[in-house]
Structures are given as C-alpha cells and as structure tokens.
Symmetry: C2
Subunit: 447 residues, 2 copies
C-alpha cells in the first residue's frame, strides 16, 4: 500500500512544507482544527531569522534564536514533524516526494518553504560572498571575521593588514544595515581591544547599496536617519553602487576594486526552487503568483504563503518578504481550512501592516507605522521589545535579554568561537596566503 | 633575519603550547613576571572540558563553556596569542614550527598540548565511535543522537527502531559515567516526550567498562554508589566487558553484538603526538616522562605539564590526567621561571590533591577528598559549586547556572539543534539506510 492521505475516520491531512514563520504559525493555528497535520522541514529547528545577524557577529549563540520544532508543537497533538527535504510536488496525485525516497499525500498542502540568497544569476559569487539565511551561514560569517583578525594580528605590514580587516556587506536592506552596524561594533570596539596588533581605527566595514538610499522599503526620512547613524558609527556606506563582479580579489565596483576576504551577501533573495514544482506562474523572484485567498491558481487545495508567494499588495506590487506577512497568512490559511471543512467560503486574505523597523547598532534604530515614525533610542527600545516578544520560546527570551544586557553593560560579545574550521579548501587557502605573507616579509610572523 | 627569541632588552621569551587548563594557567601566572609570553593554540578559545558532555547532550551551548583565549589574557599585557598548530619542536635551536610555515624561538618552552582520544591501536574505530574532546566532537554527538530520534520517529517496526534508539558509551571513567547519565535523561525523559512515536522506555543507554567497576580511580565505595545510581536511572552498565571490534553493525563484545549507530568513545586517551618531537622518553600513553621540577630530561628550559606529561606520583604510578594537576603545574612552572630568572633553584613540584568527583545525573554525584566521601544530593551540590567556581569567565558562570536552573525546573534541554549536517558520507549513509527501511516496509514512512 502506498502513501495514504486520509485515515479511516476521514480526517483531512494537511501537509505543511517549511517551519519558518508561516509554516509554524499554520501548524499552531491548526492545533484545534479537526485535521491531521504533517510539518516537513530540512532542519529540526525553527529559526528566528531577524536575529540571525547577531549570531554572525558573535552576540548570540545559535541555540538562543532557534527552538526545536517539536518543542513548539508539543501541545499540538494533531501534528507530526518530519525532518526531510522536499524534492518534488505532484499536484495531480496530491503527493510530495522527500529526499529519502519517501512520499506523503495530502488533502491540503501549505507551501511555506521561504526564500534563499539570490546572486542575480552569478552563482559563482557564492564562493566569495557568504549569504545569511541559516545557522551555518551565520557561524561561517562569525568564523571568517574571527579568522581575519587572527591573521591580521600576525601581519606587520599595515597595507597587508588592511585587506584582512576590510569587511564588505552587499545590500542595504534591513539585513545589510543591521549586519553592518553590528559588524562595526564587533570589529572596531570588541575585537580590536583583544588583538594586540590591531588598532580600533583599522577595521573597515563597507556597506554597498545599488539604490540611492538604504532601507528603501521605508520612508525617506527613516532612510536618511539610518544613513546618518551608520556614518556616525563609522560604517563606510556606498550608495548607488553595484557589484560588477566578486572574486578572490574582492568586490569590483564600476570604478573601484574593494580588496577584501570577508564579504557578506545581503542583496537579494529568490523563492525556494520547490516553487517551480507547483506548475504555476512565478514572478521574477521565483515566487508563486497566488490568488487573493493564498491558493495557487488551478490548485484550490494548495496554498503558498510567506516569502515563496507573490501576494498582490494594495496599490500595486506584492507584499514584502517579512515575518508579519508570513505569520498572518499562516493563521489565515489555518482558518480557511477550517472554514472550508465546514462548507464555508473563506474571505480573501487582508494584510494588516503593523509597521516596519530596523536596528542600526547599540541603542540606535528606526521604526515606522502608518501614523508614527520613531528613530534613535526610542526606536531601539521598541525594536528590543518587539523582537523579544516575537522570539519563540520563553527560555530563549530570557537568555537573549540577558545576553543583550551583558553586551550593553560590558561591551563584550560572548559567542566569539571559531568552530568547524574543517572545510579543507578554506583552510588551505588561508594558510597559503599566510605563508606567502610570511615569506614576503622574510621573517617570523609572530615575533 | 630569522626568528628571534630575546628582544633588545633581553627579556626572556616563554612560548606555551596549548591553552587548556595547564597552558592558560601558566600564561596567567606569568602576567606579573618580566618575560614575554606567546601562547599557541589550534583554537581561539579555551574549552572547559569537564562540561563538554553537557554540550553533547544538548544541555549547554558551546559558547557557554568556551571563552576566547584573548579575553582571558586581556590584562596580561606581556602575552600574545597565536592561533596555529605546532608541527615540530627543535630543542637544539629552541624553535617551534607552525603549520603555516612560521616559526617561533623560545628561552623557555611550556608544552601543555594535552591528550586526545586513543583507540588502543584501532584507529578504524574512530569512524563509528565518536570521541569527546572538542566542541566539534560534542556537536557531532548531539547531532547524531538527535538524528537517530528523527529516523526512529519515522520507523514503524519496533525492532528496527530499537537499533536507532540504542546509545552506547564505551569507558566507565568520569567522562563515560557523566555522559551516560546525561544521555539517559536526554533520551528517555526529554526527547521521548517530543517524538510522538518513541515511548519513554524505548531509548537504551549502555555503558561498557573493561574493569570490574566504574570510576576505578575512586574508592570502591564511590564506585558502588555510582553503579547503583546509574542502574536506578536505567543505564545498562556492562562491567568487565571489552569492545573486540566496532564497525557499522555496532559494538562487538566477546559474547554479544550490540547493534547501534550512536557510539561514543570515552575509553582512553593518549598524549598529543607533539610529545614525540621532544626526543625524550615517553610512557605507554605517549606522555613525556618529566623530572620532579616538570622539566623534560636533558632540556632544562622545556617543561611539560598536564595530560601530556607523566609526573611520578607519590606511592608509584603517575599523577592523573585531571585539571587540578595541570593548573597546579602551570602555576608552579610560572613560579619556577621567575625563580630561575632570579638565580634561584626551584623546589620540586608537589601536587596537592583536593579530591575527585563525578556527577551521575540530575541531583546525583559522588565526591571524595582524603578525609571525606560524599554521595547523592550533597555531592551533586558540591559538584555544581566546584564546576561553576572553576568555569572561566563571569558571564559563562551566570549563563551556565541559569541553564541548569532551567533544565532542573522544566526538565528541558535548550540546545537541541541539528547543525552542520554537511558531511556527505554521513548524510548519504543515513538516507540510504532510511530508504532501505522505507522500501522494506513498503509504505509511506511518515503515514
């Protein structure tokens, strides 16, 4: 007997792909609905992505912003969790296929597989510009930054040190802005004090943005305030600049080569490739163009929500790829499934925009809702409160709050670990370069 | 000009290999001595090894038991830190060579490179039995245990599930005992509640010890109390049993094959191979047989301390490989260097044995000093206090204490993350096995 969808009692089976904000919220909201739920994710944990940049900059440990999916759904007795990657979706037989050869059939499918870094057709840049989407990415950025300091501390020539201590962030959206601010604090204030040969003014953080302002999803006022804060901190912001090429030398702009080993990619995302399997029309970012009720055209039992979906926004365009959209859609879809089971027709999804915010560094942020614009310390407190509030898991909230208090008071970062330095290419590359430097200098690098 | 040892002022250069308990303590104690110190370690962090088993069992995050070496030595202005692996020591030219091609010359050398897992000549077992010496090892054990539950949760046949849910610890010393107790709590109490298909009595933890008692460095009374505690918790303790072979099937004893995928090696260590480079006599465990003043025979300017040294104990044998020995030797060596610089002859090193302890699980431990033997809850409180006291870094102490309070009150483990599942062989092996299981069962594994 092959994969079966409904059990003997005829309870509908809802399969959810992805345990991000959208998928997890759907599963939680379905806990009281008479359906059977299977949540499939590549990882065993839900990740609070808005704080991932703090793992990358050694402020938080991975476990503080991640929580096992099964823990979250402990009380949702109708839900099962399967850790696997979905390789294909067959909408005609209502079946999804997993990477281990197993399959699952569904009555309703909720595709909430999210987005990944997109290099605008230049996948070869991925080797040099690290994305920031997973715990692994964040740990890799942290390791790369710390190893750059280890090398810099052993190089006497300031010109050679300069390259090691140049940190480039590409993309001036919320992730890029938050990462750049946090990187500046980590490198100039925390690490420069630890590494004897590095002076506080040596590390450079360069933020490159193609548009003429950062945070261009916010008001011009907020963009200007953010730019001023970044520049005051010491971030070198380059507006209206595009990366023409990224390679082992660094980032090539139109008119300049920025030599750097540490480059982070925060410039663009595209929908998870599983979107293609739905056979529906996709937008330029690979997102599924969904109906007003979040269903996929011609598949009324398939929903697509969150970053993988292109939902038409009022006044043109699509809803932004932010967690409130995904969470509201998740709750909406769960309600829709309950309504449909009761023979009702769900109303269209309406997004309630509570506003948007970004933090720039220690005690600086911008926030705006329809009626209100905040900046500076007030906005920063609002940012802290909102992020603690939405962070999943009581214990995580306590620990993150404590970490922030510690960092604020002592200006230190606790998670400065270099781990998993086992990628042979990287290690070889590093030691080769260091050997060249050592030979060039013709002397004991550690003398 | 090649590597130089003394600077113009003629200040002696002390090179320390290893930032474990011994090396770090030496560097700290040398902070006020008029010498120049260079501390070389493979990692950028000091690791509090006695709590590593708690990272392996998802109770603590790596950053909570590790601290950047440079942070510890921030006030030691005469110390530099170099992150590198030492490949060779040339005692005639007083030079050490690093993996990146650089070299360092010394006036005094302190070799504190520690020990590593030893498979008694069966290095091929390493593929199947994970050691517990580094952060990476601990994270690998954690991942392996969690992945076993993910697989077990998708297998219907209890016999097939049994293999996935068998966790074998080899070696009944402190590490093996503490790990086995903690694994039992993690698997039977924490994880079994999260995984729908796993019942609390299914996971098995088997502890294998070749001698006729666990903790055979302690009194028979403590061994008996520990055995009773372990058995009461539900650990299957096999005394007087040796692993004849370890392979993909599991652990082969004389009279039995224990089928298991998750096997942890806590049975033996040998000194770091850099010991060989000293050209001195080694004992069976590869340790350097040192003089009463911790120097290496015929190299009066080279000290070996901690797990890499075989220091004759009163009444025969050698001092045990525990942190108090390494720390006391570190302080002794720093003092010796100061005395020698002042033209004095240091007295021999004398170890002050404060006692030994091991924890068995939630609120159970054994502890003994020369006059006193504790067990049960009192010993556990003593264990908590001592470990918090010696944990390096104020912040780590606060966070570990909080984690313990949380675990104690809520019976949860926060750090249940599966990360770095990128070793292709492992993933392939796992999915292949799962596919076989799926095919064998001929049905939807997640149904």
């Amino acid at each position: 007997m092959a994969a079966m969808a409904q059990d003997a009692a005829g309870i509908p089976h809802v399969v959810i792909i992805g345990a991000g904000f959208g998928g997890l919220e759907t599963a939680k909201a379905l806990a009281k609905v008479p359906v059977r739920v299977t949540l499939v994710d590549r990882w065993n944990h839900h990740l609070f992505q808005p704080l991932l940049y703090q793992v990358a900059t050694a402020g938080l440990s991975p476990a503080e912003i991640a929580i096992p999916i099964r823990s979250v759904l402990r009380e949702a007795t109708n839900a099962r969790v399967v850790m696997a990657t979905v390789t294909d979706i067959d909408t005609s037989s209502r079946t999804i296929h997993l990477d281990d050869g197993a399959s699952l059939t569904y009555d309703y499918l909720v595709v909430a597989a999210g987005a990944r870094a997109s290099y605008f057709g230049h996948d070869e840049w991925q080797e040099f510009a690290i994305p920031l989407k997973s715990v692994e990415d964040a740990v890799k950025i942290r390791r790369t930054v710390l190893l750059a300091f280890e090398r810099a501390d052993r190089i006497e020539d300031p010109a050679l040190r300069r390259r090691e201590l140049t940190f480039v962030v590409i993309g001036g959206g919320p992730t890029g802005v938050e990462l750049a601010g946090s990187l500046l604090e980590l490198t100039q204030r925390v690490l420069a004090a630890d590494y004897r040969r590095v002076s506080p003014d040596e590390p450079r953080v360069i933020l490159i943005e193609g548009a003429d302002r950062v945070l261009n999803h916010m008001s011009e006022e907020s963009s200007a305030a953010t730019l001023a804060s970044l520049q005051k901190m010491g971030v070198d912001v380059r507006l209206g600049k595009l990366a023409k090429n990224i390679d082992a030398q660094g980032v090539h702009l139109d008119d300049e080569l920025i030599e750097a080993d540490t480059i982070v990619w925060a410039a663009g995302v595209s929908a998870s490739p599983i979107a293609k399997a739905l056979g529906a029309e996709l937008d330029r970012g690979g997102r599924v163009k969904v109906n007003q009720d979040c269903t996929v055209p011609s598949c009324p039992e398939v929903f697509a929500i969150g970053d993988i979906a292109a939902f038409p926004a009022e006044g043109g365009g699509i809803l932004p790829g932010v967690s409130p959209v995904a969470m509201q859609q998740g709750r909406y879809v769960a309600k829709s499934i309950a309504e449909r089971a009761a023979g009702e027709t769900p109303p269209p999804f309406v997004y309630y925009d509570k506003g948007t915010m970004a933090t720039i560094g220690r005690s600086q942020a911008v926030a705006e809702t329809s009626g209100l614009k905040l900046k500076g310390f007030t906005a920063w407190l609002a940012w802290l409160f909102v992020h603690l509030w939405y962070l999943v898991g009581f214990k995580n909230r306590v620990f993150v709050l404590l970490q922030w208090i510690f960092s604020y008071v002592f200006y230190r970062r606790g998670a400065r670990l270099i781990t998993h330095v086992d990628a042979p290419v990287e290690v070889e590359l590093r030691s080769r370069r260091l050997r060249e430097v050592a030979t060039e200098k013709g002397k004991d690098v550690a003398a």
